[in-house]
């Protein structure tokens, strides 16, 4: 598949959405609503569940299953209150020492009038800061579209995994092509140039793992994730919170630092 075909696959309405992963991987999920500030964002689904006997906080951007639900979910594009709801859940996870597991599938944070009025930028920025020092383990799994800042706002984690046919990008290939080459038809070339496929993202050390999709066999994918999450739980439980936070900081601190040159130029 070409990079752009991957993008189309990542956007496919046939793909399982966040709620499928939550119900498939955890027991006793109870959804919790609202950011306690403005409203409840239906594009962001969050709550509590159990991983074996361990209570966990689970958060996902949710695109919805059919047209009606997709409209209700705003096609998975959160407003500021979605990010604030997510942060509220994470803060409680910190208080009650629960690991946080985030699933990401969004074309990006919503571009709307209300979103700007309520501080879309500020909401994302706050999540980036707070997640970096949240005193509990965080795992983020990109399951479909990882659209820019709206995806990163759930992505400041100890480990980031990406499904084989998911993508992670600073901008949509169409947007990139239209800005750079004034031609959204060049999305194909843009997708390739952006290095947004799962392999690219892993190669650039932006993700730790590429999770195979077993050619669409969802139960095999869930089985693989169960195994991986089990191992992740063991990894994070074996180090102290201080070590974890130090590693989390260094993980992001290192990204891109190696492509910076230091030479005296005349």
């Amino acid at each position: 598949m070409t990079a752009y075909e991957r993008v189309k696959e990542a956007r496919s309405v046939e793909r399982p959405t966040g709620q499928d992963f939550i119900t498939g991987l955890f027991r006793g999920f109870i959804e919790l609503h609202g950011d306690r500030r403005f409203s409840d964002d239906t594009a962001m689904l969050a709550g509590l569940a159990k991983w074996k006997d361990q209570p966990v906080t689970v958060i996902t951007t949710e695109k919805g299953k059919d047209t009606k639900e997709r409209i209700y979910r705003n096609f998975g594009a959160p407003n500021p209150e979605g990010y604030r709801k997510a942060l509220r859940m994470m803060k409680q996870a910190e208080k009650f020492k629960r690991p946080v597991i985030c699933f990401v599938d969004t074309s990006g944070a919503y571009c709307g009038i209300g979103a700007e009025e309520r501080g879309q930028g500020q909401a994302i920025a706050e999540n980036l800061m707070e997640m970096m020092t949240l005193r509990t383990p965080i795992l983020t799994i990109l399951i479909g579209e990882g659209g820019s800042g709206g995806a990163l706002a759930l992505g400041v984690a100890d480990e980031v995994w990406i499904l084989e046919n998911a993508v992670y990008s600073v901008i949509s290939p169409e947007g990139c092509a239209s800005i750079l080459w004034k031609d959204s038809a060049k999305a194909d070339e843009a997708a390739k140039s952006l290095h947004l496929t799962a392999e690219d993202v892993k190669e650039l050390n932006v993700a730790e793992k590429v999770i195979p999709e077993f050619e669409g066999d969802f139960s095999a994918l869930l089985e693989e994730l169960r195994k991986q999450i089990e191992a992740w739980m063991e990894r994070v439980n074996s180090c102290s919170i201080e070590e974890l936070l130090d590693k989390r900081y260094k993980r992001f601190r290192a990204i891109g630092s190696d492509c910076v040159n230091e030479t005296v130029i005349d």
Binding site: I113, T133, G149, L152, V156, Y168, I171, F252, G256
Partner: protein, 283 residues
């Protein structure tokens, strides 16, 4: 003295309105024309006004000029001067754009960092450069600002940051997106160590910069009329298929909605910044 502007047509919406036009007068002296009201000035006259037109429009200025206006004479010491980027993704046409940006801005990259004194108050300072690919944030900009916050944390210095940016630099792909998290981490550590961070939002501050360090200041001030937002106005218009309210995403709009502490004219920024620094001075 090099004029902080050049002859060029605006390429996009962000550049329009901010970019001062230089026009040849009959005396063959380049005049500075206000992009808002078209009034022309002799360079030395508008310089005295800190490039603020009589109509109130704050004409876009270079990072060096801003540092000159904001800090005490000869107090600025530049840090991380030799950092420059590669082309990590070998993105088509990127290297040429960087070369052009270097020539145009006479800077190696899109942000200038250092230490300075503002009315005798010490601080670490970063100022983004609009002439360098519209202050877009790639790995070098991310690295430099991160280093500045780490330096400020280590030396117990407050940070003053002037933002102007079209957002993340798409030619560095996902690596530029990650700079938002990287800088935010350094801001958080500075914050947790009790450091004071003041942001000065200038026209335009958008995208990934708004969604990270521009909005992370303890106190956020903005230049009058500056466009500040997450999504571009045109994208929003296309998404919601409605005309945007007047003054949408202007600094005044942000203050009204609770996201900016104060609108401060360029002529008062030095005094206000010094005052805020003194109110956060550590004994």
């Amino acid at each position: 003295m090099a004029l902080p502007m050049i002859f060029r047509k605006s390429k996009n919406e962000l550049e329009k309105g901010g970019r001062p036009m230089v026009v040849e007068s009959s005396r063959e002296i380049p005049m500075v024309k206000c992009p808002a009201c078209s009034r022309s000035y002799l360079p030395e006259d508008i310089e005295k006004e800190k490039y603020v037109c009589g109509c109130g429009h704050h004409i876009r200025i270079s990072a060096r000029k801003r540092i000159e206006f904001l800090t005490d004479k000869d107090s600025f010491t530049e840090l991380f001067t030799d950092l420059f980027g590669g082309d990590p993704l070998k993105f088509p046409g990127y290297q040429e754009k960087v070369d052009q940006a270097r020539e145009k801005s006479e800077e190696l990259e899109g942000v200038i960092c250092g230490t300075a004194k503002i009315l005798r108050q010490s601080c670490a300072i970063f100022v983004m450069e609009p002439q360098f690919m519209m202050g877009s944030m790639g790995t070098v900009v991310g690295e430099k600002i991160t280093r500045l916050f780490e330096y400020a944390t280590e030396h117990s210095l407050p940070v003053v940051g002037c933002t102007v940016s079209g957002g993340a630099r798409m030619q560095e792909g996902i690596l530029s997106l990650m700079q938002m998290a990287k800088v935010s981490g350094a801001v958080k550590r500075h914050n947790d160590a009790g450091g004071f961070y003041l942001t000065i939002l200038t026209d335009p501050t958008t995208g990934g910069v708004t969604a990270s360090f521009a909005m992370e200041g303890d106190i956020i001030i903005a230049e009058p009329g500056a466009t500040v937002g997450f999504a571009g106005a045109r994208v929003i218009e296309q998404t919601v298929r409605k005309k945007l309210p007047s003054g949408f995403q202007k600094a005044e709009f942000l203050m009204e909605h609770g996201f900016v502490d104060k609108i401060v004219a360029r002529s008062k920024q030095r005094n206000v910044t010094a005052h805020l620094l003194s109110l956060h001075a550590k004994n």
